[in-house]
Symmetry: C2
Subunit: 413 residues, 2 copies
């Protein structure tokens, strides 16, 4: 594959997204770019090459993040950064992540062409990994930027084929000091633009969402062990049926989630039943619970409630319950000053805009823990994401680029 | 393997069961004898050979059922038959089916040795198939005896490897007229003795259960289609979550099953969730429902209730529901005269005995639709069945053989 873009920037953001979606295109019309695979490497090289041709100083860091820089006239230690990630889930959409990278490139190009050298240095970053789709780890790109992760953390995680993150990284030429370290300490603002992946903007009709905070989340794997038995010969009163018990737990938890202040989102997305036969009372049911809220206090209190509901219902039915909280991420509020500047920028452009909580995790969440960060959302058609059906219209993508460009101008010029 | 039994009948029923369990012994200590496999054929030949050595006239029929006959002095068209099946589930127990065949053989042997030629002809049958574990079809043995099935029905069903029932049957020498047709019209009584596979006798302490009726059953596969979406970005109020909906349906159905007269048994044993990921609201959930009751009227009414509950809850939530009733078997009451004779026999022997509904299906259910039939149960330790852990003590097995022998005496001498 030719690493030089086949469409020129003049065609605008929608065509730019089509161009990048060639790298790792899936037969179903989606994109698969898993960290440190050939499709991913081809895409990062193509992005870097395109950044060069747009006139930015480009560089890799030692985990494979790609930067394009417009050096400022005043300071070099006070960087205004924009960007997102280019990795995808398996057969994901063209917009998730890619939009933020390409919109940042277009914004910097336009600022350079219109206003010349900025006061503060502007950078656009194509982060290497956010989705956690190949290795059991997320935010490898932004986590190395903030120092949350270090190279040594690559030793353990392995992909489905048993290849370690470290081996995959080395194979691509990263992780051995050939490039500068990923850790940054010089970021004064990070702006990430992204598709919403939800229905809020589409339903309200707003063109831009300004994120107030990225929800925290906890994930659990609940295992209920009952007593396997014959469906025909076991009296209802002697059953220890973990599927009936899990049904009652899910009903109770969904009802209690609905009582929380503002919205607590609760999802049971995964459930496995053993032995999973129509005429056998199950012995064992495992199911996941994912809870999200923008306030840590609410998450903490709901955690206690969740544990007590599961224990209470299971004990009553003689079912053994094991609750494994395998993920806990605190909410990250966006920077107030950046948020206000984003709202003002939209208002000045007479673009309909609303404040929104991000229920999904993003690189801005990782970076926002260390540096001032904010996020802009554009609508997602039908709220669909992580799917070849992911779509945002060219007009809506353009509006996003315009707000991003003007916001970066406000911050850097 | 030597087809001659390695243990002699004088060792009693428990040793006899150990002997037959060699054929198709599984590494886990269970038995796997699937219809028309080598292990199954070896076992049928061994049973036939053992029947001969006990002094019975033996024969195959054209589907592979094996008969041992003690011809009566009075009539040849008024057969008293006992027996069960020798096929098993994968890694099943030693007792299920086998006990009924071997107990029948011991009973006839004892009657012959003690009382000589019966008035009515006595037969013991080792039916070829009851479990439906290899082909998607149950009661191939007894169904051919009653004429419910005919040879032509073997053309369609195939096993997991794509081998048709017909091909497997022909390969073993059956289905081509080498033996007499399986269809019988001359049975005046069929008595099947079997392990209970439930906890009723163990909990009550009775040694013998006399079956009053074999429960009817209906099985359903319910498919709920909702809307796949992101767990973090989709507001609770806009979700169409088929897993939450199925939980509510299961709760409601279990509650309503509990309201039925006597006990309606309802089991959801199987559930598959798509795409089955912790952070994705499921698009689709499929689950099975198995309902059993001894009265057809109750099953019919509950069917209507079940459909209305599923439709009502799904409609309310905007979920598309498809209900596939893929199995419907009517209850079969056991013959009143035979049942009374069985109860009387137990009482005469001062054996503790109770009337019991069979929640599991049995050959006596198929045969009982055409000929007078009844069943005797012995206790199952822990109610466990279809497992290497299936167990009934030698003492309890012996008590069963004694009641069966005396009942056959009452009927045939």
């Amino acid at each position: 594959m030719d690493h030089r873009p086949q469409l020129s920037v003049k065609n605008g953001i929608a065509d730019y997204i089509e161009w990048l979606s060639q790298y790792g295109a899936s037969p179903e019309g989606g994109v698969t770019r898993l960290l440190y695979t050939k499709a991913w490497m081809d895409a990062q090289l193509a992005v870097k090459s395109e950044m060069s041709s747009l006139g930015f100083e480009t560089s890799f860091d030692d985990v494979g993040n790609v930067y394009g820089k417009l050096s400022g006239s005043q300071s070099s230690a006070d960087i205004i950064m924009t960007g997102s990630h280019i990795d995808t889930v398996v057969n994901g959409g063209k917009y998730d992540g890619a939009y933020g990278v390409l919109a940042g490139m277009l914004a910097l190009k336009q600022l350079k062409d219109t206003y010349g050298t900025p006061k503060k240095t502007l950078e656009v970053v194509s982060l290497c990994e956010e989705e956690g789709s190949r290795f059991p780890l997320t935010y490898w790109g932004s986590g190395n930027v903030t120092g949350t992760f270090a190279l040594g953390d690559a030793a353990e995680p392995s992909d489905g084929a048993g290849v370690s993150l470290q081996a995959a990284m080395l194979e691509n030429g990263f992780g051995k000091g050939a490039y500068r370290p990923a850790r940054r300490t010089d970021i004064s603002a990070f702006i990430e633009i992204h598709i919403e992946q939800g229905l809020t903007l589409e339903r309200s009709g707003a063109d831009i969402g300004v994120v107030t905070s990225i929800a925290g989340q906890k994930r659990y794997l609940v295992t209920l062990e009952g007593e396997c038995n014959h469906a025909g010969t076991t009296s209802m009163k002697w059953r220890k049926d973990p599927l009936v018990t899990s049904s009652r737990i899910i009903q109770e938890l969904v009802m209690r989630a609905g009582r929380q202040p503002e919205e607590l989102r609760l999802t049971c997305g995964k459930m496995n039943v053993e032995p999973n036969m129509p005429n056998v009372i199950p012995s064992r049911v495992q199911f996941s619970i994912d809870i999200r809220h923008q306030e840590q206090e609410v998450l903490k209190e709901f955690h206690d409630e969740l544990v007590s509901v599961i224990r209470g219902i299971s004990d009553e039915k003689g079912i053994r319950a094991v609750i494994d909280e395998y993920m806990s991420i605190e909410p990250v509020p966006m920077d107030q000053t950046l948020k206000a500047a984003a709202l003002q920028t939209a208002a000045e452009n007479r673009i309909s805009c609303e404040e929104i909580v991000s229920g999904a995790g993003h690189d801005a969440q990782m970076i926002g823990r260390r540096f001032p960060a904010c996020m802009l959302f554009v609508p997602s058609q039908g709220g669909i994401s992580h799917s070849p059906r992911e779509f945002t219209s060219a007009k809506q993508l353009d509006i996003g680029v315009r707000v991003l460009t003007d916001l970066l101008y406000k911050l850097a010029y």
